[in-house]
């Protein structure tokens, strides 16, 4: 099922000024529910811009963004005639229905950012409270939850982020870069969003930190079976952790689909400055030179496994 659909979406920064810049150009795509979708593209290809459209932070210059089939930027006027036919409003008097629909549209607008949780690029800059606990509690508090509920969510979020609970009473400004990043992500997870959007969650971290963060995101997705969208410019990471991929280049959509579909069409990636993972290139070359290897090897672990098997079986025959 499609959780999010973009329909001919374009976005222009500073329209009508000499600084006008088209950051998204007629992008149409759909994002499947309950899996991890990777958005990949070079710096400046419009990834961050696209992410800000998903939770209504900015509205597209043209085109529509649907969440569960509802156009998130629709106004009361857009939906009124349509919704009036719905069974729950059809029985009401017209003025009462009008009021109810108005309230519903406003509510959807307000709760959108809680339903689609966005972790921005370099989110550690958003920390501001005295303690980590209070900072993670900021989102749930804005949702108007009770203290009890907030507490439960903060502890749940800190567990997902792989940090120790003792950190909750520290000041967020005393943490290391990687810890800050996790606290910021926990602050969004604590809102229990249906869709979690992470803009370059591993940017600027060391390889070990990168791997840990990606592992935790996978773990989170499996545990909550929510929809996760993450942005990266590394094909290697995407191939390893994502089920689906979206490739952007120069503000346009280049490819979308499962990792297999995208990587099997290497020619699409040409000219985007992106490439299939090195390990895939290697195994494909080995296959060309006669080894029995599949086309869809995206991780080093898998390649090692396959080569080991191959080695063992060869040794058996000799």
């Amino acid at each position: 099922m499609d959780k999010i659909v973009l329909d001919h979406v374009s976005f222009v920064y500073n329209p009508g000024t000499p600084f006008e810049k088209k950051a998204l150009d007629d992008v149409s795509l759909s994002i499947e529910a309950n899996c991890i979708t990777g958005v990949i593209g070079h710096t400046g290809s419009g990834k961050s811009t696209m992410m800000m459209l998903l939770n209504g932070l900015s509205a597209p210059s043209s085109g529509k963004v649907f969440l569960d089939g509802y156009d998130i930027n629709s106004s009361f006027k857009d939906v009124f005639p349509e919704w009036l036919k719905k069974p729950e409003y059809a029985t009401m008097r017209k003025s009462a229905a009008k009021k109810a629909i108005k309230a519903e549209v406003a509510k959807r607008k307000k709760t959108l950012c809680f339903r689609v949780g966005l972790v921005m690029q370099y989110p550690e800059y958003q920390l501001f409270e005295e303690t980590v606990y209070k900072d993670i509690a900021y989102g749930p508090k804005n949702m108007g939850l009770s203290e009890e509920e907030i507490k439960e969510r903060v502890y749940e979020a800190i567990r997902f982020s792989g940090l120790d609970e003792s950190i909750l009473q520290k000041s967020p400004f005393d943490l290391s870069g990687g810890q800050k990043r996790r606290v910021a992500i926990a602050g969004v997870i604590a809102m229990r969003p249906e869709v979690l959007v992470l803009d370059e969650p591993a940017a600027g971290l060391d390889p070990r930190g990168r791997e840990q963060i990606f592992r935790e995101i996978c773990r989170y997705q499996k545990a909550t079976s929510s929809t996760v969208i993450m942005v990266s410019h590394s094909m290697e990471d995407m191939a390893e952790y994502c089920q689906n991929m979206i490739v952007l280049a120069h503000s346009r959509l280049i490819a979308q689909g499962s990792c297999n579909e995208v990587f099997s069409n290497v020619s699409l990636l040409e000219g985007t400055g992106l490439d299939i993972p090195q390990i895939t290139q290697l195994t494909r070359l080995l296959k060309q030179s006669g080894l029995e290897l599949p086309e869809d090897v995206y991780t080093v672990d898998r390649a090692v496994e396959l080569l080991k098997d191959l080695y063992q079986s060869k040794k058996g025959t000799v």
Partner: protein
Amino acid sequence: MKSIAFGQYYPADSPVHKIDPRAKVILTILYIVCTFLCKNVLAFAALLLSAILLTSLSKIPLRMILRSLRPLIVILTFTSLINVFMTKGEHLLTPNWQIPFWGGHVWHIKIYEEGLWNALFMILRIVVLLIGTSVLLSYTTTPIALTDALERLMKPLKLIRVPVHDIAMMTTIALRFIPTLMEETQRIMNAQKARGADFTSGGLIRRAKSLLPVLIPLLVSAFNRAYELAAAMECRCYHGGKEKTKMKILHLRFGDVLAVLLIVAFGVGIVFLNRFGFYYTMK
């Protein structure tokens, strides 16, 4: 660096953009003097003409200039009303405008022809002043070039121990970081909005409070940036202006000198026009 819209600088390829920033500072001062020299209809007509000419030379869209005039409307209305009602002259236009008050008192409204002229001249003067300074400086000169020019022009003040270089350096850095900080503010606001922050509803106190999640990270990052910049400058052995050479050396060209001469000639022309007794001459 990303070229985001900052301040009012409008990039274009025009003769006004090309004038040396030092010359532009002098031109602006002279132009302001010219607006104050104007005394009669002819002089103001010439002044208006010069403003139009300047604008078209600079290739700045008219609507941008008109937009920058919008905030002036209140001041302009206010000053012109004061001028209309307060100026006393010889030609009374409203001999029998009276407003009766209770108790037999009557208030005479006296509007003199001189008051109308004064109001018109005042409006023209302020509008041209703004157009002149914005076209000559803010729209066509980058802030960095401007501080550079000011440093050069203020050089003689070094003799009386004014730290000209440090002032210029501080201004340059401040100007350089305004767009960065604006971008950062936007980013942090977005990040907090994504966590459900609401900056627009509630009373004054609640709204001020809702800005804390933006202000604190902004201050933290501003301080961090300042420390980093200071460290980076020290690493490159920056120690004030002594013996520092410039990468971009400003050269006065013939055109710059010509522009200054032209504006001086314009000023002389205005003084000349002032001598004709045409309709009305301001005191």
